[in-house]
């Protein structure tokens, strides 16, 4: 019992620590630096501690310090309670969604089975979608409670966009769920033990569709119509400053990580190495009984998982800095007229393929 508690506490600490203190701040730096180098610039590199700049990493710290000490501004006429609650409502779902994502396999450590996922839910996929749709409330409330026309328009756009893509996003994954015959993310990962069983092999159209929906859900360029800075000033967070602003910012980055992690779990084999099965890896280090072998395998798996996540984050960042912004009505058209029908067709194709045996069952 104690061991289970300790294990869970460690896992929660790991996930949240990874997200909030590693990924979220570093993504700010990655976004800056990557876009800069892509755009033939150098990027922020001046903040230093004792003369050391570490290619601009300290800017993240100085930004955070600056934003924390900024005036927390609530405009006149704003709904104070909602205005304060909105950023938290946007950030929390993004974090909670991470609890069902397995970042490793199952290992035997000193007679205790460790399952590297915070909550092994049977309906993991559904849970992710259910939670991430809650993020819309934060955004809508932020837009509405600011008492600003631009925020209001941004909130409206965000509401419409996020709810539309919610529908399509759920459907894009259904083919995959049929293929793996499970809604549990742990099971889905466990079934991807060889390269041929990775989701991307058969389900690459679903990956494109899911990825589109996920970015749209996260409201990043090219789908950043709700916050389009040249149209709506800053959209729903126009009236936010300081710590509340940073929470929206972090929600976005955490969501980036969540999207990448979900894609890895569903399409890129999770923690699995391409050609070595879990058991094979543990055997290579000295067999299932050895705790050291298990620990080593666990470390390698976590690193593999994180590396895959990083590659997908890089991919998202590249897209963000490459494409222009959709017009708001085109976003909706894309969601309802292209992605939704396409995912329905894909479900149909997968169903037929599975029934006829064209696609092997797992």
């Amino acid at each position: 019992m104690t061991a289970a508690l300790v294990e869970t506490a460690l896992k929660i600490a790991f996930v949240f620590g990874l997200n909030l203190s590693v990924f979220a701040p570093i993504l700010g730096w990655v976004e800056r630096k990557q876009s800069a180098v892509m755009q033939d610039r150098i990027g922020a590199n001046r903040a230093d501690i004792l003369g050391f700049t570490i290619i601009g990493l300290f800017h993240t710290m100085s930004d955070t310090i600056k934003l924390v000490f900024k005036e927390d501004f609530i405009p006149r006429g704003a709904d104070r309670i909602m205005h304060t609650a909105a950023p938290a409502l946007a950030l929390i779902p993004a974090l909670v969604a991470f609890t069902v994502i397995p970042f490793g396999g199952k290992y035997m450590l000193w007679g205790h089975q460790v399952n590297l996922v915070v909550a092994d839910l049977d309906v993991g996929v559904l849970f992710v979608f259910a939670i991430s749709s809650l993020a819309a409330y934060g955004v809508v409330l932020a837009g509405w409670s600011s008492n600003n026309n631009w925020s209001f328009l941004g909130g409206l756009r965000a509401a419409a966009q996020m709810f539309s893509y919610e529908v399509a996003m759920g459907l894009t994954i259904m083919g995959l769920v049929m293929y793996y015959q499970s809604l549990s993310l742990v099971t889905i990962v466990a079934k991807q033990d060889s390269l041929l069983h990775w989701g991307i092999v058969w389900h690459w159209p679903a990956f494109i569709l899911y990825f589109t929906c996920a970015i749209a859900e996260n409201k990043r360029t090219p789908f950043d119509a709700p916050e389009a800075e040249s149209e709506l000033v800053a959209g729903y967070f126009t009236e936010y400053s300081g710590m509340k602003f940073i929470m929206f910012w972090m929600a976005e980055f955490v969501e980036v990580v969540t999207i990448a992690a979900l894609c890895v779990v569903m399409f890129f084999g999770g923690h699995h190495l391409p050609f070595i099965t879990d058991a094979g890896l543990i055997d290579a280090f000295g067999g299932t009984g050895s705790a050291i072998a298990n620990l080593l395998a666990m470390a390698i798996h976590i690193v593999t998982f994180i590396l895959k996540v990083i590659v997908l984050i890089f991919f998202q960042m590249t897209i963000r800095w490459t494409l222009p912004r959709f017009r708001y009505d085109h976003v909706m058209a894309l969601g309802w007229k292209m992605v939704l029908p396409a995912s329905l067709i894909w479900i149909f194709i997968v169903a037929v393929a599975l029934l006829t045996g064209a696609m092997p069952r797992l």
Binding site: M38, Q39, D40, T318, T322, L323, L334
Partner: protein, 191 residues
């Protein structure tokens, strides 16, 4: 020459595959990633070799790396201090008349030997637009646009009004620019 009219490529037709956004996204990413890796290689090379030319990015690390403006550059206008320790200005007032924003004001006087000189020469840095009319108008090469652009901004306007003492710069430091104006820009063979 005959007028030739060129119709722009308006009717860009997209195939169904192109309409699905995917190829364009990939193509765009290919371009940005190409820039990314070329620049990354350049930056890494520079770290190793320390040679600025390896850097593909043209950004200059100012102030660690100096910025050398071209000779034609019009920076802060300065008065020329002759080799004899006297200013070359004879307070003729041409710059004062030529200055479009009227930022120069001169109070002239005479030295003991009858030579005219500016008792006060005030240049209002808040009004100066660095157009170089004073330098063109000056018949004595006494006011010159230097290549100095630093220290022109500040928090206090009253500190931006330069008196003669703040403006004087030894002739040796301005010789290149003076020669440029005399021989190149307003040289004899330009007419």
């Amino acid at each position: 020459m005959a007028t030739t009219i060129k119709k722009v490529r308006r009717n860009v037709t997209l195939t169904l595959w192109e309409q699905s956004y995917v190829p364009e996204v990939l193509r765009g990413m290919f371009i940005t990633l190409k820039h990314f890796f070329v620049n990354l290689r350049g930056l890494a090379l520079e770290l190793v070799t320390g040679d600025r030319r390896d850097r593909k990015i043209s950004t200059i690390y100012y102030p660690e790396e100096p910025v050398i403006p071209p000779i034609a550059y019009r920076g802060r206008p300065v008065l020329v201090l002759g080799a004899d320790g006297k200013e070359k200005c004879v307070a003729c007032g041409l710059c004062e008349a030529a200055c479009p924003p009227q930022c120069i004001s001169i109070v002239g006087g005479e030295r003991g030997d009858g030579e005219r000189y500016p008792v006060r020469y005030t240049l209002d840095g808040t009004r100066c637009i660095f157009c170089g009319r004073c330098e063109e108008a000056c018949p004595k090469e006494a006011i010159v646009m230097s290549d100095d652009w630093s220290g022109l901004c500040g928090y206090d306007r009253s500190k931006m009004i330069y008196e003669k003492e703040n403006l004087l710069v030894p002739e040796a430091r301005l010789a290149r620019r003076m020669a440029f104006m005399r021989d190149k820009a307003f040289g004899k063979d330009r007419y």
